[in-house]
């Protein structure tokens, strides 16, 4: 069988779409993180705009609602001087039966330059990247349970900011990993950047043993999973898990796998606590920890804008 070229990279190995962290060379990831640093300083100036995407139209295609993610992409695009159009697809033409590709073709006819796509099905952004016009760039803002690459990158930026050397770290990811696109992106990024120990922590229904194929150590006991960790990433628990017979209740989950101050005490004294948001207080994380000294949840949001600016300016500057 022919080997298929990574659709995110052009012939020269430059990034033209951001669809997944998987398959990205380490140099590309590092470069995006370095560029994000530049934009972080831009975001601290009085004039927070740079003209890199001036005259370009960025279309936010959110097939799954998410005001917070969409807002950060909008801010990032506007700081790059792009024109931003938000499309709430969930309530519009697709509901009337227009196919995904017809929607894309219509939008391309309106001279879109970049699509930021969030979709409920794994793989949808690949389909879009395959079928949109050659000069159009696609950023995956989350597809099903497959990937959320900008979140993965901003999580790496956060870790680099507070911890510097990836190759000495123990990172614990706690929660509903099997359904989490954030977890998958984090795991790919951490392995690419050389983190030696990545632990996936949670009950068997949410953290099955075959996850170890991704290069993580599966732990079904939070105590074992958190011990001496440098970074703890908490994932959001969704209500569907209870109705889908994977967990009995949020209460029991919190007792066993929720992050409280005493559980956090098992990690390293200078450990940082991260969460992609929005947080469910009292379900996966205790308020005292979410608001405490170790929490870097708010810096993650700030870094998120700079990282998205870095991603969008990087891909917009590379030709297909």
């Amino acid at each position: 069988m022919l080997s298929r070229r990574n659709p995110q990279l052009n012939r020269h190995g430059e990034l033209i779409h951001l669809l997944s962290i998987e398959g990205l060379p380490r140099a590309v990831i590092s470069q995006i993180l370095d560029t994000a640093g530049t934009f972080l300083s831009v975001n601290e100036r009085d004039v927070k705009k740079v003209p890199l995407l001036r005259g370009k139209s960025v279309f936010n295609l959110f097939f799954e609602n998410s005001t917070r993610t969409r807002t950060t992409f909008e801010i990032a695009a506007k700081r790059l001087s792009a024109d931003v159009i938000n499309l709430d697809i969930a309530r519009s033409s697709t509901a009337k039966g227009e196919s995904l590709l017809d929607t894309i073709a219509n939008l391309s006819a309106m001279h879109a330059d970049m699509f930021v796509v969030r979709h409920g099905e794994s793989g949808a952004p690949y389909l879009i990247a395959e079928h949109c016009a050659p000069h159009v760039h696609v950023v995956n803002a989350g597809d099903g349970r497959h990937a959320h690459p900008t979140q993965g990158l901003l999580d790496m930026y956060t870790i680099r900011h507070f911890k510097s050397d990836f190759t000495q770290l123990t990172v614990a990811i706690v929660g509903d990993i099997v359904h989490s696109r954030v977890a998958r992106s984090d795991i790919h990024a951490l392995t690419t950047l050389g983190v030696p120990e990545i632990r996936a922590v949670g009950p068997k229904t949410l953290v099955p043993n075959d996850l170890s194929a991704m290069g993580v150590r599966v732990c079904h006991d939070m105590v074992e999973g958190i011990r001496d960790a440098d970074v703890v990433i908490m994932l959001r628990l969704q209500n569907e898990r209870m109705s889908g017979a994977m967990l009995p209740s949020a209460g029991e989950y919190f007792k066993r796998f929720g992050l409280t101050a005493d559980k956090l005490a098992l990690a390293k004294p200078d450990a940082i606590v991260m969460h992609p948001g929005p947080i469910n207080r009292g379900v996966e994380i205790d308020s005292s920890v979410a608001d405490g000294r170790a929490s870097v949840i708010l810096p993650q949001v700030t870094f998120g804008i700079a990282v998205r600016m870095a991603v969008m300016s990087t891909i917009a500057g590379n030709e297909a």
């Binding site: 530049t38 300083s41 831009v42 890199l52 500057g317």
Partner: protein, 169 residues
């Protein structure tokens, strides 16, 4: 590498230093800002050699370049650090080689993201002509003519400066 033209970077630096000293004599409170990377090296040395207080600023043109669509974001680009408020400030920009003037245009735009300077003057080591925009230096240590395809860049060995002349980009 052609050797038709011999440029002694250190000798030209001495001339630049004298030229910038004269410019500063007319603008007592002006600050030096070096354009990354060659201009920044020059500004750092000038700051010390002219006995100026504090640090010279560094500015990069990366975010405002007009060739982003063709070339994308450059990989190594430095970052802007201005240890002073731009509003109402007199600024002397320092660069190594002045050519089309587009870098200066981009640097001015970057400067304006920080505030409104009282004035901006330009001092360069070499003006190689070939202007594509209406930009002129207040002082140039040397004026040379090169073929369009040739590239002139400043290099640094430790503290010693030298020029590199190449055919092609």
């Amino acid at each position: 590498m052609t050797t038709d033209l011999t440029l002694d970077a250190e000798a030209l630096y001495a001339a630049l230093r004298d030229g910038v000293r004269r410019l500063l004599a007319d603008q007592h409170d002006a600050v030096l800002v070096g354009i990354w990377s060659g201009g920044a090296w020059l500004a750092e040395r000038l700051q010390a050699d002219l006995g100026l207080a504090g640090e010279a600023g560094v500015i990069t043109s990366t975010l405002h370049r007009d060739d982003f669509a063709e070339r994308g974001l450059a990989a190594d680009r430095g970052s802007t650090k201005l240890p002073f408020a731009v509003d109402g400030q007199r600024i002397v920009l320092i660069d190594d080689v002045l050519n089309t003037g587009r870098t200066i245009r981009a640097v001015l735009n970057e400067l304006y993201d920080f505030g409104r300077p009282a004035s901006v003057t330009l001092a360069v080591l070499v003006d190689r002509g070939g202007r594509e925009l209406p930009i002129e230096p207040a002082f140039a240590a040397a004026r040379v003519t090169l073929a369009p395809g040739q590239r002139l860049a400043l290099a640094r060995d430790g503290q010693r400066l030298r020029f590199e002349l190449r055919d092609g980009p």
